[in-house]
């Protein structure tokens, strides 16, 4: 096995099971679409809340996508093969998470213009939303992978993942929505985006190693 064939195999498997990703995306769009219907479709209510609604829906969709990323690999024995294949496990984990990040976030960004229009997000804040998604979601995936790897051998894994990693998601949600709110009222927002970027970079350094340790413990 090489890093290249590993990445290619991951992409192939993801493509053949694209229904999972599509489900997460549909879930995201549905949650966002229900808010104006359920609460109040006026711009006065929606515009200030838009950033928060979009981010909460995105976090839930990402949680859905991430909690099972190692399930199949654990069941069919490939997780064990990665541990013993002689390649660096943290690098393999990083490749896997990066591919999943791209597979979920890229379509998410594609529907972003639509949902921000639905929630009447001011056009000036749209690019701030995109920036927060790009800067903040890597952290969600990297941390989520640790939780998914820790709980992969447990039967009731899915709910446990959510309990384990949701607290770590809160700062990301807070920084991201603060950035969008700040941009709407004309305050500087770069600081918040920089914080998101910093958190993502930090988890980029730490998470692959912790995921690898958790995977090793799980195949034991």
């Amino acid at each position: 096995m090489t890093y290249l064939t590993f990445g290619r195999t991951q992409c192939r498997v993801l493509w053949r099971r694209k229904q999972d990703t599509v489900n997460a995306l549909l879930f995201f769009v549905m949650v966002v679409a229900l808010f104006p219907l359920g609460i109040n479709p006026s711009a006065a209510f929606l515009a200030p809340a838009a950033g928060g609604i979009i981010w909460c829906a995105a976090v839930l969709a990402i949680l859905m996508a991430i909690d099972g990323i190692f399930k199949e690999d654990f069941r069919d024995g490939t997780l064990e093969q990665w541990v013993v294949c002689g390649l660096s496990l943290p690098v393999l984990m990083l490749i896997k998470v990066a591919i999943h990040w791209f597979a979920v976030v890229f379509p998410l960004l594609l529907v972003m213009p639509l949902v921000s229009e639905m929630l009447m997000l001011p056009s000036g804040s749209f690019w701030v939303l995109v920036a927060t998604v790009l800067a903040g979601t890597p952290c969600l995936f990297l941390l989520g992978a640790i939780g998914a790897a820790l709980t992969v051998s447990l039967k009731q894994g899915a709910t446990l993942v959510i309990l384990v990693i949701l607290p770590f998601y809160l700062p990301v949600i807070i920084f991201a929505t603060s950035a969008i709110e700040a941009s709407q009222v004309g305050l500087p927002y770069i600081g918040f985006v920089a914080m998101l970027l910093a958190v993502s970079l930090l988890s980029l350094v730490v998470s692959p190693f912790m995921t690898a340790v958790a995977v090793k413990a799980s195949v034991n």
Partner: protein, 203 residues
């Protein structure tokens, strides 16, 4: 191809669920040898193989490969071995060929064809692994052995769910491998005719 490699396992102590599976276990494996690990269900055969493969860490003990200590950096050993555990390690949504190429990317189409012919899977090249029977998936998993040109084979119950002809093919492949100077460490509950050089009994 002729291999020459050696594996020395000394004083390993494996504990699982707070129970000692083995203590101070030592064995060596030289080129051209097949070592069969025997023991009851739950004796720790699979655990021993996992420890050698590096999927589990022993409490104590040292593993040398070709005279080099690989206890803490296993990559050297791992690049020269194939480990096939209870799980087949195949992706159900990929075809046989895609699965095998993901492990052995250097395989040529002719090699692939000949291996599938030997394993009686020639008509299934484009079949998704999820559509194979248990024995057929086992055959695909074992096909990695002779595509990957590694001196050390670690086989955990390789004959599980294989039919008579499957067992015969794998046995002859093991024979051929040790004739070329390879090493095999295997566990099985199957009575094997000739290939086993030595037994290691876990109690």
């Amino acid at each position: 191809m002729l291999f020459s490699a050696s594996l020395d396992v000394s004083n390993v102590w494996i504990e699982r669920s707070d129970r000692d599976l083995c203590r101070d276990l030592s064995f060596t494996l030289r080129a051209g040898e097949v070592l069969r690990v025997l023991g009851d269900n739950g004796a720790g055969k699979s655990s021993l193989l996992k420890v050698v493969a590096g999927a589990m860490t022993p409490l104590e003990g040292r593993i040398m490969f070709n005279g080099q200590d690989v206890t803490s950096h296993r990559a050297l050993l791992q690049q020269s071995m194939v480990y096939i555990g209870h799980g087949a390690g195949l992706k159900s949504m990929l075809t046989i060929e895609e699965n095998l190429l993901s492990y052995c990317p250097a395989t040529s189409p002719e090699q692939m064809q000949s291996v599938l012919d030997i394993l009686d899977l020639a008509n299934h090249q484009e079949t998704y692994v999820k559509a194979l029977s248990a024995g057929q998936s086992r055959r695909v998993a074992l096909a990695r052995l002779w595509l990957s040109q590694c001196p050390l084979w670690l086989l955990d119950e390789p004959f599980a769910s294989l039919d008579v002809s499957g067992v015969a093919v794998v046995e002859s492949k093991i024979q051929q491998h040790i004739n070329e100077g390879g090493m095999v460490l295997l566990t099985t509950h199957q009575a094997l005719s000739s290939v086993v050089t030595r037994d290691l009994v876990l109690s």
